[in-house]
């Protein structure tokens, strides 16, 4: 069995595609590895492609939620792309809502959305920066 899921760095983003039937330890290793890489590369976003996953059970769902929460704390955006329709239907019936996880239909849309989310964040930071400049001038 596969013992590691590769994480690719692309600019300020990390990409990973889960293409194997994950056993639980593999899922836990992935969480840890991804968290480590986000910090190492100061990544602004992570795209997770699950189009090859033919089921998402509560364990994998929990892993995805956990990754999303940890990433948010580390100031990285997460997007999950490519969920198969049958998997989505099953998830809802199982009772998993994947709250707080952004999703997109495919990698292309997901990448655009991720770039948008990061840009929005940047422009917010810029705006608040300008505010400070104004008030500084006004004070002078």
């Amino acid at each position: 069995m596969v013992d590691k899921i590769p994480i690719l760095k692309m600019g300020k983003f990390l990409l990973l595609s889960i293409q194997v039937d994950m056993h639980d330890q593999l899922a836990m290793d992935l969480q840890e590895d991804l968290t480590h890489q986000i910090v190492l590369h100061r990544s602004k976003g992570v795209l997770i492609d699950i189009s090859s996953l033919d089921i998402v059970d509560s364990f994998i769902g929990r892993m995805l939620s956990h990754i999303a929460h940890v990433s948010r704390i580390l100031d990285a955006k997460i997007i999950v792309v490519g969920m198969q329709p049958a998997v989505a239907i099953t998830l809802v019936e199982l009772g998993l809502s994947l709250d707080g996880i952004a999703t997109a239909l495919n990698v292309e849309k997901g990448m655009r959305r991720l770039e948008q989310m990061v840009e929005d964040d940047l422009s917010l930071e810029l705006e608040s920066g300008e505010d400070r400049d104004f008030s500084a001038e006004a004070g002078d």
């Binding site: 069995m1 998402v56 059970d57 509560s58 364990f59 769902g61 929990r62 099953t90 009772g95």
Partner: protein, 132 residues
């Protein structure tokens, strides 16, 4: 009659094997894709319970029929501590461990027929059916 296979649930990777075999059986009796996904997901939940809470067990996978329709029947059993309060264990959000407590109730919703037998000290036996 269809074929019956028994798989051990002794380690995490056995859950993956059970998922793959349940998928094969579901395809063999020609369940639709959504039904296949549901029974495989239910099997994954229950098999993990048997491994984590039941200390391991086994999974019987049977390709059979129900009222003339193709069906998959699973029996997942363990010799663990059993479940003291079955009603409570079936409620979403209830967990005795660190999980989300969606396993039993969630698995029940995913299948067409669900039966559970468990007594403290006697292990747990869960039967799952999904048919066309």
């Amino acid at each position: 009659m269809g074929k019956t296979e028994i798989f051990p649930l002794k380690q995490e990777t056995d859950i993956v094997i059970v998922r793959q075999r349940v998928r094969k059986a579901a395809e063999a009796v020609r369940l639709g894709l959504v039904s296949q996904t549901k029974i495989v997901t239910a099997a994954s939940e229950i098999a993990r319970n048997a491994l984590i809470y039941g200390g391991g067990g086994e999974c019987v996978i049977e390709e059979t029929t129900k009222d003339g329709r193709g069906a998959v029947r699973l029996v997942i059993s363990d010799q663990g501590e059993g479940i003291a309060n079955l009603d409570r264990a079936m409620v979403d959000g209830y967990t005795s461990g660190s999980g989300m407590g969606l396993g039993l109730g969630g698995a029940k919703r995913l299948v067409d027929q669900f039966a559970i037998e468990s007594q403290p000290g006697q292990g747990t036996r869960i039967e799952l059916w999904k048919w066309r």
